[in-house]
């Protein structure tokens, strides 16, 4: 189900960019009628949507088209030639993949950080209070698979804390972990602090000190093939500037 979705998103992005190019040409580059395409990690959905509105307000005539997906998917799309102006990833590895292929403009800038938190159903049926509680027998724990960033972080923390986790499921996306917790299937899940914040009262978040063992840094960079490099630089400046940092902090992100 997801692959066709991704393909459709790709086509949509291509169509949007083609449309944008068509619109921009007659303007003669006057700044108006341009579309800035931003590829951003799925976890950035709320703050980047707000930042895009902010950017459109301060740059009249410019539209920001946002494409949210897993960082690995976005990196694959970029390497397959998907047209974008800005790429914001949720981990260093996927940004490095794109940078190694010489697809980014200059060096990526870290603009935010994120740590894991324990998400439990509001009633906390398994009475989870700490990271060590997750390993209690009978606790139905759901985590991300080690192949995806949130799972790699969970494995790092478990290793350093000396807690042997026995998950009931290892999901491919943090949203799937959250889904298993909000539906009550799982007693606990390891997700990002920002996911807990975004889920509102559907889950209860339990921060834990061991989360500091694995801090995810979010890098942003302009795309080398962009036709709107000035706008892209302005958007990155907004993200890394004080206004962007405030919006990111409100969403639960830490400083880079």
């Amino acid at each position: 189900m997801r692959l066709p979705g991704k393909a459709a998103a790709l086509l949509l992005a291509a169509a949007l960019a083609a449309g944008a190019a068509g619109c921009a040409a007659p303007d003669g580059g006057g700044g108006a009628g341009k579309t800035l395409t931003v590829f951003a990690a799925a976890s950035l959905k709320a703050p980047f949507t707000a930042l895009a509105r902010e950017f459109e307000a301060s740059h009249p005539g410019t539209r920001v088209a946002l494409s949210f997906a897993g960082s690995a998917d976005l990196a694959t799309q970029l390497s397959q030639g998907a047209p974008a102006d800005v790429f914001a990833a949720a981990d260093q590895k996927n940004m490095a993949k794109v940078a190694d292929a010489a697809l980014v403009e200059g060096a990526p800038t870290d603009f935010a950080s994120n740590v894991l938190a324990i998400a439990v159903p509001p009633a906390n049926p398994a009475n989870i209070g700490s990271f060590a509680d997750l390993a209690r027998p009978g606790t139905r724990l759901v985590v991300c698979a080690a192949q995806v960033p949130c799972g790699a972080a969970a494995a790092t923390i478990a290793g350093r804390a000396g807690v042997a986790l026995k998950p009931a499921s290892e999901e491919s996306a943090v949203t799937d972990v959250l889904g298993k917790v909000t539906s009550g299937e799982a007693d606990a899940g390891l997700v990002y602090v920002t996911d807990v914040r975004a889920a509102g009262d559907k889950v209860k978040g339990i921060p834990f000190p061991e989360s500091a063992y694995a801090v995810n840094k979010y890098p942003v960079a302009g795309v080398r093939t962009s036709r709107n490099k000035e706008l892209a630089a302005a958007f990155i400046a907004l993200v890394t500037g004080s206004e962007g940092q405030k919006i990111l902090a409100d969403a639960g992100f830490g400083r880079p």
């Binding site: 698979a145 192949q147 491919s172 299937e185």
Partner: protein
């Protein structure tokens, strides 16, 4: 309709070629991306073999469930006459058009911990969520319509003449079913079962939503491919090819005959069973 005359207009042939290409080209593109040097190690890794084994076992179990539940359903739909029959057929066929993820959500609210039946099952000490049983349920849910459609079609085109004769000779309904009906539609049943198996093998969305993903328990081959794709594109492509090969073998085995969905039934019988 399909007997005798076979003059196909040339433009139809052209479009048919385009249709075939539309299916084959993406497969060829995938094959072209396979890293052959690494192919054997990639598909024989422990994770791959575990996923393949789980896929084959769960798909076989789902096929058995589909036959157990689907044969009676097809019989009732093809032979029975009762109010709401067309409505029942529409609902039985629903998983064919439903996005699998929707099926997964529906199953979650049925067999999940907080679900309609799941709560009672949980009290009885049966945990469906995150178990291999959940995978089989998800696969059966999406594959059942394939068996019902194939078999109902075969039943309708076979007609009920022989059954009527057997009944007048004093055979009980169960005997008629066992000795006449089932042998008559066996090819249709076989192709329906194979289609169900193939569909179960490819099940992804409902499994991901409902069963979770854990090596050896719920992570079937499609889920393994989806996960490998995150880090190792070569492994994902190699496993995809493996899944395609298994599917081709399975479907190829069932469609060897020219008309698997039923023997020449004679036109009067074929039209004898009209819609209610």
């Amino acid at each position: 309709m399909r007997h005798g005359y076979s003059g196909i207009p040339r433009w139809v042939l052209g479009l048919a070629a385009a249709g075939a290409l539309f299916v084959l080209l993406p497969l060829a593109a995938m094959v072209a991306r396979v890293n052959w040097a690494q192919f054997i190690p990639l598909v024989t890794s422990e994770a791959s073999l575990t996923a393949l084994g789980l896929s084959l076992r769960t798909a076989a179990a789902s096929t058995v469930l589909c036959v157990l539940l689907g044969v009676p359903l097809a019989l009732v739909l093809a032979r029975g006459e009762f109010p709401g029959q067309r409505l029942l057929r529409s609902f039985v066929l629903l998983p064919l058009v439903l996005p699998p993820v929707v099926g997964g959500i529906a199953l979650l609210y049925t067999f999940g911990r907080q679900g309609l039946l799941g709560r009672s099952l949980e009290l009885a000490g049966i945990q469906v969520a995150f178990s291999t049983t959940a995978v089989v349920l998800a696969q059966t849910f999406v594959a059942l319509p394939f068996l019902v459609v194939s078999l109902e079609g075969a039943l309708r085109s076979a007609g009920s003449r022989y059954e009527a004769v057997a009944a007048t000779l004093g055979a009980r309904p169960t005997t008629v079913l066992r000795r006449v009906t089932v042998p008559l539609v066996l090819p249709g049943l076989a192709s329906g079962a194979v289609l169900s198996f193939a569909r179960s093998l490819g099940e992804f969305g409902a499994t991901l939503t409902f069963a979770g993903s854990l090596q050896g328990v719920t992570r079937t081959l499609p889920l393994e491919i989806y996960l490998q794709r995150e880090t190792d594109a070569d492994a994902a492509v190699a496993l995809s090819l493996l899944l395609v090969a298994v599917a081709v073998i399975v479907v190829g085995l069932s469609y060897r005959g020219p008309a698997p969905a039923g023997r020449p039934a004679g036109s009067p019988a074929a039209t004898g069973q009209g819609r209610p």
